[in-house]
Symmetry: C2
Subunit: 419 residues, 2 copies
């Protein structure tokens, strides 16, 4: 199995992988904990919005009919009968010749059908018993009508949507202090490799510190998962198999790094031969990260990423982030591909689609993809500066300046002006 691998396209691999992932159970959380979670049911407006006619500004509620002759040169005098602050219920009906002093957000008094702002009146003092209106109004002017924004029963948010700050605002408005969301995916993380040292261990010849575990842990949390870090695994097959089975019972998906290549001690590659394992793929048509592997181990999904940090990062963005989003209940999950113009030539033929790390810039509304020229799969130094992967298709002789290229944008591109 290690050598005789069947190569499939990135698209096929993503589809195959997402198809085996379940959607997790739901739970109820407080609105204060709902940010970033995925809604588990449709929600409807529990009342009209606004739920009473109200004034959108500070001024006087009047009968428009009283103002038909009003102008700056010939203002109309009205008697002020009441002041209504936001939150109060008006006590008096506005009759002909009268006005109610009204604050932003306050309830319209009976009888009034328009509001004039302070700035268009004369003598708008707080204690004034009379006010002069300097403009003619139409019925409805400056009144926010009950239900104007939304009628009771309107769908305000749908199952499968990610809850953002705007969603929180609408949930609060309609009194949803608790909300049904999908459970957060528990994502097991495992590094394989006898060469790996802990971050706080001193360096020794031949060994390196484990950077993938810390990186994946950050990426999993960023994507909305709960990282569960398991202790590292030496390159020994039998104990590794047992550990993996044990770990998988504790999580919704296990993501490993390392051990996917054709080396003698590549435990993940060997694992695929196990009768309990259904291999989904173990070679993807892309560079780097082509040995990215996925399988079901006793029915549970395992994503095995390359040990190489850059390849591990790419594999996570394509398969890990999408998996977490899908497990968490998000609808229509796929890698976020957009198009941009290549800012500099890339003139190498590629046997496989090449995913170059780079930056995404905007110039006069056009997106420019700027590859990182230090892009070796393992180059750790520029990983933090990467905003996207630029896809150079297989075959041909690369891409010229200005050609359209597909770009896999990371979760949060840092927008920057050129220069």
């Amino acid at each position: 199995m290690r050598f005789a691998r069947q190569t499939i396209s990135v698209q096929e691999a993503v589809d195959k992988w997402l198809a085996v992932l379940p959607t997790l159970a739901t739970e109820q959380v407080n609105i204060g904990e709902a940010y970033g979670r995925i809604l588990a049911c449709d929600l409807h407006a529990t009342h009209d919005l606004p739920h009473f006619d109200r004034s959108p500004l500070d001024g006087y509620a009047v009968k428009a009919a009283d103002t038909v002759t009003a102008s700056v040169g010939s203002p109309v005098a009205l008697r002020v009968i009441e002041t209504v602050a936001a939150g109060q219920v008006p006590a008096r009906e506005v009759m002909a010749g009268c006005a109610t002093r009204i604050m932003t957000g306050a309830m319209m008094p009976e009888g009034a059908d328009a509001v004039i702002m302070f700035e268009q009146t004369q003598n708008p003092g707080e204690q004034s018993e009379q006010v002069w209106i300097k403009r003619a109004l139409q019925p409805g002017d400056n009144v926010s009508r009950r239900g104007e924004e939304m009628a009771k029963g309107t769908v305000i948010a749908q199952a499968g949507e990610r809850i953002n700050a705007g969603t929180i605002a609408i949930l609060a408005t309609f009194g949803f202090s608790r909300v049904d969301v999908f459970r957060r995916p528990r994502v097991g993380l495992l590094s394989t490799g006898s060469e790996l040292l802990g971050v706080d261990e001193p360096l020794v010849p031949g060994k390196i510190r484990n950077s993938n575990m810390a990186m994946l842990s950050a990426l999993v949390a960023e994507a909305g998962g709960v990282p569960v870090c398991f202790s590292g695994m030496k390159d020994e097959l039998a104990p590794a198999k047992n550990k993996i089975s044990e770990y998988m019972q504790q999580v919704d998906v296990l993501i490993s790094s390392g051990g996917v290549s054709v080396g003698d001690y590549d435990v993940i590659a060997h694992l695929a031969d196990d009768p309990d394992v259904e291999l989904l793929f173990n070679r993807v048509a892309m560079r780097p990260a082509s040995p990215t592997t996925s399988m079901l181990v006793a029915g549970k999904p395992l994503l095995a990423l390359s040990g190489n940090p850059g390849a591990c990062f790419l594999g996570f963005e394509l398969f890990g982030r999408t998996a977490i989003r899908q497990l968490a209940g998000e609808k229509g999950v796929k890698p976020p591909i957009i198009q941009a113009r290549l800012a500099v030539p890339y003139e190498k033929p590629c046997p496989y689609p090449r995913y170059l790390r780079g930056k995404l810039m905007e110039q006069d509304s056009v997106l420019l993809a700027v590859p990182d020229f230090n892009d070796k799969a393992g180059n750790l130094g520029t990983l933090k500066d990467s905003e996207c992967f630029i896809v150079i298709p297989a075959g041909g002789s690369g891409k010229a300046v200005g050609e359209l290229v597909d770009v896999l944008a990371h979760a949060a591109p840092a927008w920057r002006k050129d220069g």
Copy 2:
């Protein structure tokens, strides 16, 4: 002060506001808690990367000179003297006519200067005592040299940078298990308004539920701050002043919503008259959110946003998010403005620059700004779908389809293909 306001531009207001904000103290956190924080000092590579010559693939370490005549038709036989796994230190020097079986990431043995991959050999079995090389190599082929990626002492990350998953990877590699970051800003949140009900309170006539507090709390956390929610404040000036002073001592910045307009009970507007207060601005040339106000109260920064949810949201994106980023130590903070083509006409003259909520799409590499036509300042229903604010400049008669417009992108635009 309530009526006689001086209008300043958004740019001036942002500059004035950011200029009064301090940078917070630093603290040390574990690498596992460092994601999203801002680095407080430059960090340097603690060793060469890689710190030993290593093989980037699975194969045989050889002397290139031994392979000069090798070809598929006439492979060269070498004697296998050792197997080196990743993490091991080779025990034997590779002499002429010999090869060491070597795994990805393993240390190069003395004497070898090139690596040939398994796939270019014959008889590469694990127990083979002899292997046939089918390709001629140059010295250095398939060897990752010590220091090739980075020399010891190289700056790996700089003060003022936000730590992302890539930064975490490089920190782990160089053994930074703890890292100096700026303290997270404590952001006090306060809603003013006698009309406000809690999210779990039943609706009564004239009152509405407080949606800004929950929304701002989510936005503050998203921006990297620690939201500190204070209990709501009635529209009464004397107690409000005392409360605000008390609250401000507990936080790095206080953000309020409501009470900034010209109404009789607008406590924030009245507060600006206090002798202890240095007003920075109380009218910004934009719609909505023009009454957005900022001041120093006993030297501490207060940002007063409109009570209107849409205006509150815009005010936060311009002044609140930038403030949190700056307090948290980020360098060169400014609102993230990019340019896009207007996707539909907006043919109204604007006395002030108009910030329309909308979506940012990409079509053949060009960014399209699609305004939300339900965009009333207070429209809560579409707040969650907003990806950006589209800026229609003041004067003129709006903008035609295809014209360039400035766009204030939110923190994380959701990229979507058109159609």
